[in-house]
């Protein structure tokens, strides 16, 4: 693919995001806003034990309540539905929407109550009597990893879902040949992106039509497939409606267990059933927790700070069931060396089950925790060499003239100019002045530090980590599609085949089609047909939609444009290659055929159509991920995502040493995602990602106590950044287009989030390093920070 054009008509221009209009007037269509005639509501009965055998479930008092229609337990459900799919080959880790025989984490759903109202369902849920026999449990992943640990799934034999060592390159040789070596551990605490809207699903079974209509707050590939499989329906017996507004997802809205449950209930009762998690159900049992991971790193480097090789052991606590979590150890393989020219890597990926809630896909799919580990490593190398942290990065970064750059694990980075973006960002920051500001704050008696983070956003999303970690899975197809149709009156209609959760896909698709057809995107209508009327797609995951939906829409529109040119060329009496297209008109030899005339021919003048042409003006395109064609090699090398955006964070933090509360005084991010399709959307992603990252670094954690009780069940304990916790962010732009995409665009759906935790952690460590302190676990809480400072000062002989 040749280099894309540098200037665009509509791409990159300041255009309003059309979706906003319905949201500002309160006309979003979220699951909670949708009702159906005769709809019933669900509440869940949850286990309070981290592990227990279910001895009995007595629903008699609940069923006696007026307005209660059914109480269903795991035994009934397991007889009627297939277990939910695992990503890895772990058939003995069986998961159903309700616990079957035993509960495996505090909060796990044991029974579902269906009633006329949600309030009645909750009343009845309190009356369901469950007898439990508590069982031994394990919460710590290192404990769970041991062969003699209590197995969460005895049939599986151990708690190990994944335990694989990858060796890419001459690791041992590089370690032996390096002058220096150091090791450390960092821990990414269990948190998640916790959207403001909980997961909800409205399931309606039509017994005469044989179709299950599903509307859900969903962001999930293979959703209709998995519903059908679990409910033992043909896939065309499931109709997923994509025209539902999703109140935020950032990866986690994968409510397949809720959906299978609601679908089963709807079929059982022949009534529409709506299941919306309340916040308690969501936090402890929604199975939407994020990575819970420790990293043990050894790094081999030279005295000049050049890193030669890295060993990384990543241990992830997947919770009580397998789900998709283990793949979050696989995706980071596609950028396992970060933006650096590290020559070899040993990667030991371990995923274990414990009696905690289930981990789900979170923004970045494991990349942000991995970047936190890598950037900590670079800071440590700089410290060990007595070198400036930015300089060490400069010495290690892939250089602009080296792209495409092949990393040891098999991915090629498509394009980038990391050094230039760093230079540009530091120039904007005023690096020397920032250092002086830090020193001035220190002179005032504050702790002050600067944190930096350089990292990649792999984008384009394929499923290479699936066959990589599960050889029985030979999926290489990871597509997205778009249909464009010009109707009889010349209006353009675009169909996209997925739900959205605020990423502006309607605006994105209209812009891409408008760019191709050279017509105003605001005239283009975008619709979302349901899954029975849709072409294949894989939903907005893996930072892929700018690339994949943008690409599919652009290609479909270009196919349509070619048809229009051919139709006009026939009337104009020339070869299509000789005709020229301009803003909807086609010209040759001084004559021009206008848009409306071409439309008329296509829709009404069959006698004028080129031979073999179908009537009307319609084209579709189903696009495969660029570069994603091959299965992994035997030693685990594969091309992960195709495109790589780059970001560079600079944060200045000040901390009152007594109070321990970090204040982010300045936040600058350099960001390069190639061609920007809509500047507002990309800006929003970056700022929102940084806010998520600040939360992960300082505030957010799902805390379990020693008895396996999840303590962070409400927003009084799980703290998310408000407007006062997120500083004003300055964005420095750069555009290094991707050679692999239609406009040169790369993804930006994870931007900011991928580097903010590393940068904030780095700043706090820089601030406290004069006291000899290190903070190696996220989140860094104010009391812990203050306590550590107080202890250090005591040792230094200072008064507190």
């Amino acid at each position: 693919m040749s280099a894309p054009p540098k200037s665009f008509r509509y791409v990159s221009s300041d255009r309003r995001v059309r979706e906003d209009r319905r949201f500002v007037v309160g006309k979003g269509r979220y699951i909670g806003d949708l009702a159906a005639e005769g709809m019933l509501h669900v509440a869940l009965v949850a286990s309070q034990h981290p592990a227990a055998r279910i001895i009995s479930v007595d629903a008699s008092r609940a069923l006696a309540l007026p307005g209660v229609h059914a109480v269903v337990d795991g035994a009934e459900l397991a007889a009627a539905v297939e277990p939910l799919m695992n990503g890895l080959d772990t058939p003995h880790v069986r998961r159903y929407p309700l616990a079957v025989g035993a509960t495996r984490y505090m909060g796990e759903w044991v029974a579902a109550v269906v009633a006329d109202t949600r309030a009645l369902a909750e009343d009845a849920a309190e009356l369901v009597e469950v007898e439990y026999e508590p069982l031994p449990f394990v919460l710590d992943p290192e404990e769970a990893y041991k062969p003699d640990s209590v197995p969460v799934h005895p049939a599986h034999g151990s708690n190990v879902l994944l335990d694989r060592v990858f060796n890419w390159g001459e690791v041992d040789t590089h370690f032996a040949d390096s002058a220096r070596e150091l090791s450390f551990r960092v821990v990414w605490g269990r948190n998640s992106t916790v959207p403001l809207e909980t997961f909800g699903v409205l399931a309606q079974w039509d017994p005469w039509g044989g179709v299950l209509d599903v509307r859900a707050s969903i962001q999930m590939p293979k959703y209709a497939d998995q519903i059908a499989r679990a409910l033992r329906l043909p896939m065309n017996g499931v109709r997923v409606h994509h025209d539902v507004d999703v109140g935020g997802s950032y990866g986690v809205k994968r409510g397949i267990k809720h959906t299978v449950l609601a679908g089963y209930l709807s079929r059982k009762l022949s009534r529409p059933v709506r299941l919306i998690e309340d916040r308690l159900e969501n936090m402890r049992s929604g199975d939407a927790h994020g990575p819970d991971r420790s990293f043990d790193i050894s790094v081999a480097f030279n005295q000049d700070g050049v890193v030669n090789s890295m060993k990384m052991r990543a241990l992830d606590n997947a919770g009580a069931y397998a789900g998709r979590a283990p793949f979050q150890l696989g995706k980071p393989i596609g950028a396992i060396v970060g933006p650096y020219r590290i020559k070899s890597v040993r990667y030991h990926a371990i995923s274990v089950t414990t009696n905690k809630a289930v981990e789900e896909a979170v923004r970045g799919f494991g990349q942000s925790p991995t970047n936190y580990a890598i950037e900590t490593m670079m800071d440590r190398v700089a410290e060990a060499c007595g070198l400036d942290r930015v300089e060490v990065r400069r010495r290690n970064l892939v250089r602009a003239d080296e792209f495409p750059w092949l990393i040891p694990s098999g991915t090629r980075y498509d394009s980038g100019d990391y050094h230039a973006l760093i230079d540009k960002t530091l120039a904007h920051v005023g690096w020397d002045a920032l250092m002086a500001e830090r020193d001035a704050l220190r002179a005032q008696g504050l702790l002050a530090g600067i944190g930096i983070a350089a990292c990649l956003e792999p984008s384009g999303g394929n499923s290479s980590f699936e066959p990589l970690l599960n050889p029985k899975n030979t999926t290489t197809t990871w597509m997205e599609s778009c249909r464009v149709n010009i109707d009889a009156l010349g209006c353009v209609n675009v169909a996209i085949h997925t739900t959205s959760s605020g990423q502006g896909h309607e605006t994105l698709a209209a812009t891409a089609v408008g760019e191709a057809l050279e017509i105003d995107p605001d005239l283009i209508r975008v619709a979302r047909p349901d899954s029975l009327s849709s072409l294949p797609g894989n939903s907005p995951v893996g930072s892929r939609m700018a690339i994949m939906l943008g690409g599919a829409a652009f290609h479909a529109a270009n196919k349509l444009k070619a048809k229009m040119i051919a139709i006009a060329a026939k009337r104009l009496g020339c070869a299509p290659e000789a005709a020229s297209y301009h803003e909807g008109s086609v010209s040759f030899g001084g004559q021009t055929l206008a848009w409306q005339q071409i439309v008329e021919i296509a829709h009404r003048h069959y006698h004028e159509l080129p031979s073999g042409f179908e009537p009307g003006l319609e084209a579709s395109h189903i696009m495969q991920t660029p570069t994603g064609e091959a299965l992994p090699t035997a030693d685990g090398r594969v091309q992960m995502y195709p495109c790589h955006s780059f970001e560079f964070h600079v944060v200045l933090v000040a901390i009152d040493p007594e109070l321990g509360k970090p204040e982010l005084r300045r936040y600058v991010i350099g960001h390069d995602c190639g061609t920007v399709i809509n500047p507002h959307i990309v800006k929003g992603m970056t700022l929102g990602g940084i806010a998520h990252g600040i939360g992960a670094a300082l505030l957010e954690e799902f805390v379990y106590d020693a008895d396996g009780q999840m303590m962070s069940q409400t927003f009084m304990d799980y703290l998310m950044p408000s407007s006062k916790e997120v500083p004003r962010v300055e964005i420095v732009h750069q555009c290094t287009p991707s050679p692999l995409t239609v406009f040169g665009q790369k993804g930006s759906g994870e931007s900011g989030y991928l580097g903010a935790p590393a940068a904030v952690s780095g700043a706090i460590n820089d601030a406290t390093s004069p006291l000899g302190l290190r903070f190696e676990k996220l989140p860094i809480r104010i009391a812990a920070l203050s306590d550590a400072v107080a202890r250090a000062r005591l040792q230094e002989g200072k008064q507190t």
């Binding site: 309003r16 403001l196 927003f715």
Partner: protein, 163 residues
């Protein structure tokens, strides 16, 4: 029990259980679904409405308590169907949302602020929206929208081009 909710200038007579919150009454009984349930325990602000012009959390009131009080929801801001208030338009101009779930509550908090202080400082804007959690935007474009609305309000009824 019978409750009269005065919403966006119109009185609605409803018959509800005492335990029905104002939020659920607005959404389910009156089908005004712009106020959203985010946490149902009064922290996230997605349920924000105006009561006697002041922001309040609709999930923290029972409908019965709101009997006879003057309630404004997001549906009451636009003057005419199809049009946007100056503030709503500013939110579109700066793309001050993504998923839209926090947006009605956020706009109402901003609306109340601008009524009390038409030229708020950035700090005051941040304080006014600090009770509305947003998980999408990181607040930057939201603050910009409110600043833009304040500037436009200041310039309203002036000849174009005036400072």
């Amino acid at each position: 029990m019978k409750v009269v909710l005065s919403v966006n200038g119109a009185d609605h007579h409803i018959d509800v259980e005492p335990r029905l919150t104002l939020l659920d009454a607005l959404r389910d009984a009156l089908r005004l679904t712009g106020a959203h349930a985010g946490c149902e325990h009064g922290v996230c602000g997605a349920c924000t409405v105006l009561i006697d012009g002041r922001p309040a959390r609709a999930c923290l009131m029972f409908a019965a308590q709101a009997d006879g009080l003057s309630i404004t929801t997001i549906e009451g801001l636009a003057s005419v169907p199809g049009e946007l208030s100056l503030l709503q338009d500013a939110f579109c101009e700066t793309h001050a949302m993504q998923c839209g779930y926090c947006t009605p509550g956020m706009i109402l908090s901003a609306h109340a602020l601008l009524r009390e202080d038409p030229a708020p400082s950035r700090e005051k804007i941040i304080d006014a929206i600090s009770g509305n959690i947003c998980r999408c935007t990181g607040y930057g474009q939201i603050v910009e929208a409110i600043e833009l609305a304040a500037r436009r309000l200041a310039g309203a009824n002036q000849k174009e081009g005036a400072a």
